[in-house]
């Protein structure tokens, strides 16, 4: 019974690490240069602080997930792991929200501030960023599942649904 629980927990954490790594890598490799009206325009993730925060947050989450696989269940370290799971989940939520807001402005522009949308010019860059956001969202959902599963394991260890 304990082995099955541990196996499920490890599989969830590895999935989360993979999704977070995918999100960070896709965002880092988004780079496009284009020229319009004679002006050269370059779009890179490192020109926007929100995207830098996105990459850093997901890289930290991936490394953390891989490290936590080696924590033995039931020890005091596992309670600490639950707390830091919640903290990292909230940091990832903030990162996805900030990057999503910036992408929306990049796609639709903002007429009141005089900001023109840039997705028409750098179409490939926008697609990459969208892919990174989707991967980040998947990682967030898997983190939510991890937290729920850890809580269930902690609060009801004698539940009849375990076999």
């Amino acid at each position: 019974m304990a082995k099955v629980q541990r196996l499920i927990s490890i599989v969830l954490r590895l999935t989360a690490a993979a999704a977070a790594a995918a999100a960070a890598i896709i965002m880092v490799t988004s780079h496009e240069t284009t020229s319009f009206f004679g002006l050269e325009m370059e779009a890179k993730y490192s020109y926007t602080p929100s995207f830098i925060f996105f990459v850093v947050a997901f890289a930290v989450a991936c490394a953390y997930s891989l490290l936590v696989v080696f924590v033995r269940p039931g020890s005091t370290a596992s309670r600490l792991v639950l707390m830091s799971d919640v903290i990292i989940g909230m940091v990832l939520t903030g990162a996805v929200a900030a990057a999503g807001a910036l992408s929306e402005v990049g796609k639709n522009g903002n007429t009141h501030a005089g900001w023109l949308p840039i997705c028409v010019q750098v179409h490939e860059y926008c697609n990459r960023v969208m892919g990174a956001l989707i991967a980040g969202f998947v990682a967030l959902v898997v983190y939510f599942l991890i937290i729920m599963y850890s809580l269930h394991e902690l609060a009801e260890p004698l539940c009849s649904c375990h076999y």
Partner: protein
């Protein structure tokens, strides 16, 4: 987990026993410990109410300040002959951070509803758990709204050179100031809701019949 609660209850009963073990020897000590316990109990019971009221205040202030945030100025755009052409530039909140105002308004209304319905929730386990879950959901919603508005505020203040987005805070100064105040208030609301969440978790987990949340 079970052993921990057992030790907690035995410790508390030991406290009460200590207080009542020497009634004749030191009556003043017994009464002082019992009043201290009473004061502590009352303080513990008051904490969720104070936290919720502060959260209502913080989120309502954020929603109101950002909702009424608008600034406009007229400038000369062109000169036709001898008559200048004026145009009004307006900055309103509803451009991007509309989610911010909605999230803060929903959070304030939810906290108000929970505060008013406190009598119904106080001693029932399922209602207490539902309120705890909703607390978490509303806190995450507030956090996403605040993160979105913060990234927009950074963009408005510093602009982005590579996409040729100019900063707007030099033209709309008080709009940016008011937006900053609303953002800070919303972050305070998120911190208060986090504290409330921790309180609910502690109340629901350690005592089976949850008293206070």
């Amino acid at each position: 987990m079970l052993t921990r609660t057992a030790s907690w209850t035995s410790h508390s009963s030991m406290d009460l026993e200590h207080g009542s073990k020497k009634p004749s020897a030191a009556p003043t000590a017994a009464t002082s410990t019992s009043t201290i316990l009473q004061v502590r109990e009352r303080f513990m019971a008051l904490q969720p109410i104070v936290l919720r009221a502060s959260a209502i205040l913080a989120t309502a202030v954020a929603a109101a300040v950002m909702g009424l945030n608008t600034q406009s100025y007229t400038a000369v755009v062109a000169i036709i002959g001898t008559r200048p052409l004026m145009q009004t530039f307006t900055a309103k909140f509803s451009d991007t951070p509309a989610y911010f105002v909605t999230a803060n308004a929903i959070a304030g209304a939810y906290n108000l509803a929970v505060l008013l319905m406190r009598r119904l929730i106080l001693r029932r386990r399922t209602a207490s758990l539902i309120v705890h879950m909703l607390d978490m959901v509303i806190m995450v919603m507030l956090a996403t709204g605040a993160a979105t508005a913060a990234s927009m505020a950074y963009l408005g203040k510093n602009g982005n050179l590579h996409t040729r987005w100019n900063p707007i805070c030099d033209k709309f100064g008080s709009f940016c100031n008011r937006g900053g105040i609303a953002l800070v208030s919303s972050f305070i609301g998120v911190a208060l809701m986090l504290a409330l969440n921790l309180l609910s978790a502690a109340a629901n987990a350690s005592r089976p019949n949850a008293v206070g949340h």
